[in-house]
Amino acid sequence: MSEVSGRIADGSMRGTNGAPVPIDLSVRIYHRLLAAYPGRFRAEYGQHMAQVFRDTCRRDYSRGGLPGMMALWARTSLDLARTTVEEHIERGIEMNREKFVRWSGWALVAGAVLFAAGLIIGNYDSHDMDPIGGADAVYEYGQAAGLVLGQVLFVIGLLGLRAGYARRSGSLGAGLLLLAVIGSVVSLAGLLAMSSLEDGWLVWMGGYLAMTLALAIFGIVAVRRRVFSRWNYAPILAGIGIPLLFGIGMVGVDSLSGSAPEWGSLLAVVLTSAGLILIGYRMQADAGEASQALA
C-alpha cells in the first residue's frame, strides 16, 4: 500500500472541508448525483439529503472505515437509482394533471360561451315546439349545437376542476365537485335524449340544477378555504342564477308581469356563464403557474 492510500485508509489525509478524504470525496460525488432528481424536489430537499448523507458517511467511516464506506455507497446507489425514477414518474403525473386542468379550464370557458350562445339563439326560434327544420332551422340547429357542445365541455371542465382542486377543498368541497360532475353528465344525457324521450328536458334541467346548485355551495367552501389563488367567489356566481330562477318559478313566476321572466332567465344565463368563464380562466392560470413551478 502506498503512503497516500495508507493515509486515506487510516483517515489522516484530510479534504478541503477538513473531513477525511473518503468522506469529503463521497459528499462531493453525492452532491453531483443529486442533479438526477427533478429540480423542484432537489431545490426543496437536496441540501437536507446531502446533510443526511454526510452524517451517515461520518458514522459509517468511523465505524467501518473504507469497507463501511463501500457498503454505504452500495446502499446509496440503489436508493438513488430507485428514488430518482420514482420522483420523475411522480413529477410526470403531476405535470400531466396540471396540463389536463389547464385544458379543461379552457373547455369550461368555451362551454360557457357556447351554452349561453345556444340559449340566446334559441330565443329567436319563434316556434319552439315544432320539429327541427323549416324556416327557423338555423336557430334550432344553432341552439342544439351550442347546448350539446357546451354541455360536453362542461363535463370536461368540471372533471378538470375536480382533478385540480378537490384535494384542497376538503371532503365537503370534493363531494360537491363530484355532485357537479354527476349533474353535468345527467344534464348532457337529458339533452341528448330530448328528441326521443318526452321527459328528456326534465332530466336535462334536473341535472343542470344539481350542477349549478353544487357549484354555488362549493363557492362558499372555496371562499372559506381559498381554494383558488384568486376569484374564489366565481363558483357562487356560476351556481346561483339557475337555482334562484327555479326558486322564483316555484314561488310563482306567473306573478311576475310583462317581460320579467325573460329578463330573469337572461340574467341567470349571463351570471352562470360569467361565473364559469371566471372559474375556467382561473383554472388554466393556476395550472400554468403550477406547471412552471414543476418544470
Binding site: 443526511v52 446502499r75 378537490a166
Partner: protein, 125 residues
Amino acid sequence: MAEATSPDGFLPLTPAVFHVLLALADGEKHGYAIMQEVEEVTGGKVHMGPGTLYGSIKRMLAAGLIEESDDRPDPTLDDERRRYYRQTGLGRKVLREEAERMAELTALARRKHVLAGIGSRSILT
C-alpha cells in the same frame, strides 16, 4: 393518498411511511435522527437512504400526516439548518390504525400456527 381524509384511506402504509411515523411517535426529529432510529429499532435490517427518506417525507407532508416544526430541542446543540418534523393528529390516528391492522394480522397468523415458534410456545404455556 393526498385526497384521503379518513385514516382508513391511507392503509396499508408503505414500510418507509410506517417507520417514519413510528420514529416520530415519541417526539419531533430531523431527517438523520429519523434514519438512525429506523436502523436502531430494526436492528440494522432496514436502511433508509436519503432519497427514500425525503421522498416519503415529501408525500407525508402533502398528505398531512406530518408537519414541519419550528421548535428546536436545544438550539445551541443543533444545526439550525436542519428541519424537524412531527406527527399531526391525522398521522397519529393513521399510525395507530396501521399498528392495529398489523396486530390483527399477527393474531390471525398466530391462530393459524404460522408463527411456529410463538405458536408452539403458546400451546405449551
